[in-house]
Symmetry: C2
Subunit: 397 residues, 2 copies
C-alpha cells in the first residue's frame, strides 16, 4: 500500500477495516460473472446459488456453534445486525407484552449501532433504556447489571470487545447472572434476550454462542479479512425477534432481499480463516508480544497513558492518551508520514466528537479528544511497528 506521494503506508487501523484475504477474494470470484443465479430462482442456476449460500451459512453456524442453519441471518453490515437485534427485540417484546414498555440494558461504551438504535427507541417512546457505566478499565460492573434487571427488561446488549479500547467484557459471566436472576425471579420466558456485538472479538476470542450463553450475536465481514457489505446475526433457536426487512421472505422471513451470494461466500471463507488463525496460540502470542513491545515503548514517553485495562484487552489493541500535546497536529503529521491510525472509531471519526468510550471511563473531554488508537492485524510486521514508533517519537519531541 502506498499513498499519493508514493510513500509506503504503515497501516495500523485494522479495527476500522481489514484488507480482504486473497483466499476470500478467490472464493468470491466465480460468483460475479459465472455463477450469478438468484438463490430465489427454482432453476439450476438458482439452486446452485442457494446451495453455496447455505454452505457459507453452515460455516458461520460452525463458527458460532449454532444449533441450525436458520440461526444464521445474513445482513448487509454489522450495523444492520445490531439494529435488527435492538429493534427486533423491542418489537418482539412489545408484541407479547402489549401494555408494558420494553426496557433495554446496554452500556455507555457500546458501538453507535446499538447506542443510536436505543436512543431512537427512547426518543419515540418505544423503550426505556439503562446505560451501564464502565470502570476505568473499560469493564462493565456486573453488580450494576443485576440492579438494572427487571421483569420489563426485553434486551441486554453488551459488546464482547470494545472497538476503541479493546476491553473484553465478561459475556459468559453476564449471561450467567441474567440466567440466575431469571431463575430466582421465577421468569420462565425467553425475555430478556441477551445480545452481544462480537464484531471486534470475532478474530481473537471464542465465539461459541452457546457457551457464551447469548441469544443474539453480531459479526461483520470486513473486520475479519472478509468483504465490506455483509454481516450476520446469530439468533438462538426458538426466540422471537421481530423480522427486519420485508419482501421476498429470504433469510427465513427475517431479512428480505436477494442474497448477496459472493459476499456471503466471502464471509463463510473469512470465518474459516479467522478460526484457523486464532486457533494457533502462536499467532495470538506473537501479536501480544509485538503489541506489548510497542505499548511499553509508548508508555516511556512523558504524558502518554493507556486507556482501559491492559490485561482484559484484545491482543491487537492499543489506545493511549497523548495529554498536553497538540493532538490534531500529531494526527495530521502521522497521516502525512503515511501512518494510518485512528483517533477513535471510524464510524464516529467523521462527527469530530470526543470519544464517548473514553468519556465513559470517567476521563475528561480533553483526554477523550487526544486519544490514539493503534490496532494491529495479521499482516502487521515488527518493522512497521518500529517505524511507527520512531515517527511518533520524533513528532512528540
Amino acid at each position: 500500500m502506498k499513498n499519493n506521494q508514493n510513500q509506503k503506508l504503515i497501516y495500523l487501523d485494522y479495527a476500522a477495516s481489514t484488507p480482504v484475504d486473497a483466499e476470500v477474494v478467490s472464493a468470491m470470484a466465480p460468483y460475479w460473472t459465472e455463477e450469478f443465479g438468484n438463490p430465489g430462482s427454482l432453476h439450476f442456476m438458482g439452486q446452485e446459488a442457494r446451495r453455496v449460500v447455505d454452505d457459507a451459512r453452515e460455516k458461520i453456524k460452525k463458527f458460532v456453534n449454532a444449533d441450525s442453519l436458520r440461526n444464521i441471518i445474513f445482513t448487509g453490515s454489522a450495523t444492520e445486525a445490531d439494529n435488527m437485534a435492538v429493534y427486533g427485540a423491542a418489537r418482539g417484546f412489545t408484541n407479547s407484552h402489549r401494555l408494558v414498555m420494553p426496557h433495554i440494558i446496554t452500556t455507555a461504551i457500546e458501538h453507535e449501532a446499538v447506542l443510536e438504535s436505543c436512543r431512537d427507541l427512547e426518543k419515540n417512546g418505544l423503550a426505556r433504556v439503562t446505560y451501564l457505566k464502565a470502570g476505568k478499565d473499560g469493564i462493565v460492573d456486573v453488580a450494576d447489571l443485576e440492579n438494572a434487571l427487571s421483569p420489563e427488561t426485553a434486551l441486554v446488549s453488551i459488546m464482547y470487545a470494545n472497538n476503541e479500547i479493546g476491553a473484553i467484557q465478561p459475556i459468559a459471566e453476564i449471561a450467567e447472572i441474567i440466567h440466575q436472576w431469571k431463575k430466582f425471579s421465577g421468569i420462565v420466558s425467553d425475555w430478556p434476550l441477551i445480545h452481544t456485538d462480537a464484531v471486534q472479538a470475532a478474530g481473537f476470542l471464542n465465539m461459541d454462542a452457546r457457551k457464551l450463553g447469548v441469544d443474539l450475536l453480531t459479526i461483520s465481514g470486513h473486520k475479519i479479512y472478509g468483504p465490506k457489505g455483509v454481516g450476520a446475526l446469530y439468533v438462538r433457536d426458538g426466540i422471537n425477534i421481530y423480522p427486519w426487512l420485508r419482501g421476498g421472505g429470504q433469510e427465513y422471513g427475517m431479512r428480505a432481499g436477494t442474497e448477496p451470494v459472493p459476499l456471503i461466500v466471502g464471509l463463510g471463507r473469512a470465518v474459516e480463516l479467522a478460526e484457523q488463525w486464532k486457533s494457533s496460540a502462536d499467532n495470538i502470542k506473537n501479536m501480544l508480544k509485538s503489541r506489548d513491545h510497542l505499548l511499553d515503548k509508548l508508555l516511556t514517553i512523558p504524558g502518554v497513558a493507556l486507556n482501559g485495562s491492559r490485561e482484559r484487552r484484545l491482543p491487537n489493541n492499543i489506545n493511549v492518551a497523548l495529554t498536553n500535546r497538540d493532538f490534531d497536529t500529531i494526527m495530521i503529521g502521522l497521516s502525512q508520514a503515511g501512518v494510518c491510525v485512528s483517533s477513535g472509531s471510524a464510524c464516529a471519526a467523521r462527527g469530530q466528537k470526543p470519544s464517548h468510550v473514553i468519556l465513559a471511563l470517567g476521563c475528561d473531554e480533553k483526554r477523550a479528544r487526544s486519544s490514539l488508537r493503534v490496532t494491529l492485524g495479521k499482516y502487521t510486521t515488527e518493522k512497521e511497528l518500529d517505524d511507527f514508533y520512531k515517527i511518533l517519537q520524533n513528532m512528540l519531541k
Copy 2:
C-alpha cells in the same frame, strides 16, 4: 455457463439476476485487498475510500438526474431501499401529523418489498393502505389513483416497470396527476411523497427522477449487471423521510454502517454502462426484435397467451400463460434441458404461491400458476432464443 451435466445453459432469467459486467468486476477489484480503507477514517486510506464512494455517488446522481450528492443513499439491496421509502415516509408523515394515521397508495402488482412493508404497517396499525388494481394490460388506472388521494396520503408508491410482466406504468403522468391534485386541494406540503421502484426499468427506460416528478426512486445493482448486495434510494432534496439504519451516521445520517466500497464502486460503473447501453437505439431495437420474434412464435402454440400489454412493456420481457398444460412438468423439463426461465419473480418463487401479479390482472389462479417469464439480457443471442423455442415446442408436443 454450464450445469452439472456439463450442459450449455440457456439463461433467460435476466429479470431475476444479471451476471456482473466484466468492466464492473475490474472496477471493484482494487477495493478488496489494496484500497480497503474505511470511508469513515480520517487518514489517507479512509479519505481515498470516501473519495471513490462519492465518485460513484456522483455517477448515480447523474443517472437519475438528482440535484446533489446527498440525494443518493446507498443501501444493501433494492428491497432495503423500498423498505426505507415505505417505512421512512410513513414515519416521517407520522412525525409531522401526530394524530393522523398515514395513508399509503400502492398497487396490487408491486414487488413484495413494497407490498410486505405496507402490509406490516397495516398489521401494526401504523398506516392505512389502498392497493390499486391494474387492468388486463397490467397498467394502473389513473382515475383510481385520483379517487384514492386524500390529505392523509403520506406516500404513493407505484413501480416504474413490473418485474413479472414488464408492464410500464405512466409514472410521469401519475406524478403530474398528484401534483395537480395537490394544487387543486391547496396542499402546499411535500406530502404525499411519490416513490417508484425502478429496479427493472433502470436498464431500459429514462431514469430522470426530476422529469418523472418522483420524490423517491429505487435502483438495484444486480439487475443492471452490477453486484448483488447494493442498491440505492434517490431522495429528493428537502423531503423528510425517517432515517433507516442507526449508528455511525453514514449516508448523511440516513443509513448507518460502513460503506461497502467495492460494491458502491461497482454500482457506479454499472449505471454508467446501463446508460451507455440504453442510449443506443440499436440495442433496444435489436432486443425488441429478438423478443418479438420469439413471442410471435410462442403465440402460434395453441393455449399460449400473453400476460399484460404487448406495447407498454419492457423490451426484454415475455410472460405467457401455458394453459391446459402440466406446468410443473414443463418447468422441471426446461430446467433439465439447461434452460433458466422463471415461473414468476425469483423473490416469490420459493413460496410456491400463485403469482399475485397475474391474479391482479383479473386472471384465475390456474393461469397465475402456469405463467412463464422469459427475460432477455444484453448477452442473449438469437441462437439461445431459437434453441429455447425448440426445446419448449418439443415439450409441448
